[in-house]
């Protein structure tokens, strides 16, 4: 039967090439637009190196301090101090590991080596657990370990592009560079990290024990729970998430008991969050609202599907009008209405899948070559590029989304013309009349 549909589509193409091609391109464009929207969200959630464990992450990148019981209520939100982060997240049960880090690429440094031209690179201050939570690809050397971290040794892991800029080589573990005129020894070189890896991204990774960054605190009155640190928890499995959150909530309650006298309340606003929740939350004092996100996404997708569906529906209707005599002939020779309906829908589905493949191809090519346009926020201010790998773009989940949208679009654009055609009186259809 599939062969029959291809035969009919080919015949249609030969007979009415302009209309058929417009039909295919129209559907392809609709799928392309929808997939770009889907991709923009999916790259924030799909796992890829060095964030291959995104499914098992719980992320806390902010806390909120609110003054309570005072005349003028004030609130401040932002990252955590190192002390607060440790108090909340160290030694948790049911976790594989926890990393505390500062910067996420937001601190730039002037980097130079020997007589090389200095460059600005984005840095992050991390602990040694960072390298166990994220799966970086080391091109040479290795990450700094716990002993090096505790000792506060001035070592650094650098990215491939920094290594090539400074040394024209990646095998530079053991060599020295200056960062803001302070010498550091390179302990490892890793593959460049895409800006899309929002937690792991940087170009230089330094033990935070080498810096005064741990002393930086901010917040209300004497409490000052805020600072520059984020935490990422790597769970053993998703089923442990509730237990982990319960432990963290208990620690928040303990902190709140301690700071009650200062009339300040600590809130994590739903943190630590899953990768998905983190991707849909913009502000530090915002609670993740998946329901709101799904409703918004559904409305956007509905509009993106409805507009081309109405257009394609009218094209399908006019195409069927042209073939009304053929419909009459088939019905005369024993084709039941239900079969006619399914044949029309299936034929259009094959057409939609062909168009969907074209649309998906457009989307992948566009996303690959125009990743800057799609994945950079206006206010990011980073030097890095939001590169996307082909393996990320050619993810089975993306294909599944594309196929589902093809199917829905096909159904929306075909069902009414198909029902109309199948209910046309046979004699009228044979005589080319649609009623």
């Amino acid at each position: 039967m599939f062969k029959q549909y291809i035969k009919n589509i080919w015949a249609s193409l030969k007979q009415d090439s302009v209309v058929t091609i417009i039909n295919i391109l129209g559907t392809a464009l609709a799928i392309f637009l929808i997939m770009v929207v889907v991709l923009m969200q999916e790259v924030k959630v799909l796992p890829f190196s060095p964030e291959s464990n995104r499914d098992l992450f719980l992320i806390c990148n902010a806390l909120t301090e609110t003054s309570i019981g005072k005349e003028n209520t004030s609130m401040t939100s932002g990252r955590m101090s190192e002390a607060t982060a440790k108090e909340l997240f160290s030694s948790l049960k049911n976790v594989k590991d926890v990393t505390l880090f500062s910067g996420g690429g937001g601190l730039s440094k002037l980097v130079s080596a020997n007589k090389s031209i200095p460059m600005q690179a984005e840095s992050a201050y991390t602990d040694d657990a960072f390298w166990r939570v994220f799966d970086f690809k080391f091109l040479s050397g290795k990450p700094f370990d716990n002993a090096t971290f505790k000792a506060g040794q001035k070592v650094v892991v650098i990215s491939e592009s920094v290594a090539r800029h400074l040394f024209h080589d990646v095998n530079v573990a053991g060599r020295e560079i200056e960062m803001d005129f302070v010498p550091y020894r390179i302990c490892g070189v890793v593959r460049d990290v895409s800006l899309i890896a929002s937690q792991a991204y940087a170009q230089l990774w330094i033990p935070y024990t080498t810096s005064d960054i741990v002393k930086l605190t901010s917040g209300l009155d004497n409490v000052k729970l805020g600072g520059t640190f984020s935490a990422v928890i790597l769970a053993n499995s998703k089923s442990d998430f509730p237990k982990i959150k319960a432990q963290v909530n208990a620690r928040v309650a303990a902190i709140n008991s301690r700071i009650k006298a200062d009339k300040v309340k600590l809130e994590l606003k739903g943190r630590p969050m899953t990768q998905f929740e983190s991707s849909i939350t913009t502000w530090s004092n915002e609670l993740p609202e998946p329901g709101k996100f799904y409703r918004k996404a559904a409305i956007i997708l509905l509009i993106l599907l409805l507009v081309p569906a109405i257009n394609l529906s009218s094209m399908t209707q006019s195409r069927l009008r042209r073939y009304i005599t053929e419909i009459g002939i088939r019905r005369a020779f024993g084709c039941p209405r239900s079969r006619l309906l399914s044949d029309i829908i299936n034929e259009n589905l094959v057409l939609s899948v062909i168009a969907g493949i074209v649309g998906l191809l457009f989307c992948v090519i566009f996303a690959y070559f125009a990743s800057d346009m799609l994945f950079t926020s206006d206010w990011s201010g980073f030097f890095g590029h939001p590169t996307v790998s082909l393996s990320l773009l050619l993810n089975p989940k993306i294909f599944l989304f594309a196929f589902i949208f093809c199917f829905i679009l096909n159904l929306m654009s075909t069902i009414i013309p198909a029902l109309h055609a199948s209910h046309t009186n046979i004699v009228n259809a044979l005589n080319g009349r649609t009623r």
Binding site: Q15, G328, A332, F333, P336, I426
Partner: protein
């Protein structure tokens, strides 16, 4: 038992402005193996009669009984299957599907039966051989003459071995030579394969060659 029986058949076409009585109280019986021709002036209801016998249209009142089965308020799927099994159509303007080649056109009735593509293809080749067109299997309808098109239409009508063949002015668009060839095929189907044929025609000579002729005028049978 008659192969085709129409009892008290009437057909009224209603629009907002006008009501047209296409058939009025028609009673006809056609025996198995009979070759019946239907004659009358244009607009007398001949084609409407054929459409009702062929289950392409429903009567306003009356019963249609085909091979002992009364066709009344049956689900579309049942009627379609019955039509596929029992009835083959030959139209004046051939009604071949222009986007399909000859053999694909002939196969159309078998698409709605549970037979394999290989078997379908084999049967199509056999009937095309029967009508003398096996050498044109992969041609498109636009590449054939009128007579050849009608022979393809006949092949399509008989591929499912239907008991009844309904022909609506099968030679109307053909010259006398081609028309004679078509009539020869129809006679062969009737005499040698015992198919029941009901043919609408304006041609007296052709009507005389059939077993019986009935005449219509203004929706009523007059002879």
């Amino acid at each position: 038992m008659s192969m085709i029986k129409l009892e008290g058949i009437s057909k009224v076409y209603r629009t907002k402005e006008v009501e047209t009585l296409a058939l009025e109280n028609v009673n006809i019986e056609v025996e198995k193996g009979e070759f019946l021709s239907v004659m009358g002036p244009s607009g007398c209801g001949k084609s409407t009669l054929l459409n009702i016998i062929g289950l392409l249209d429903t009567p306003t009142s009356g019963s249609v009984i085909i091979d002992g089965t009364t066709i009344e308020q049956m689900p579309d799927k049942v009627v379609a299957a019955f039509r596929n099994k029992m009835i083959g159509f030959i139209f004046q303007s051939f009604h071949l599907i222009q986007s399909l080649n000859v053999i694909d056109n002939v196969e159309v009735p078998l698409l709605y039966r549970s037979i394999s593509a290989k078997e379908r293809h084999q049967k199509a080749k056999e009937v095309l051989e029967k009508v003398g067109l096996s050498h044109r299997m992969h041609h498109m309808p636009s590449e054939l003459s009128g007579g050849q098109c009608q022979r393809v239409a006949i092949a399509r009508a008989i591929i499912g071995t239907p008991e009844i063949i309904l022909a609506d002015e099968p030679t109307g668009n053909l010259d006398s030579k081609m028309g004679a060839e078509i009539m020869e095929i129809l006679h062969h189907l009737n005499k040698d394969e015992n198919r029941t044929i009901v043919m609408v025609t304006h041609n007296e000579e052709q009507a005389k060659q059939t077993s019986r002729t009935i005449r219509f005028f203004d929706g009523r049978q007059v002879e």
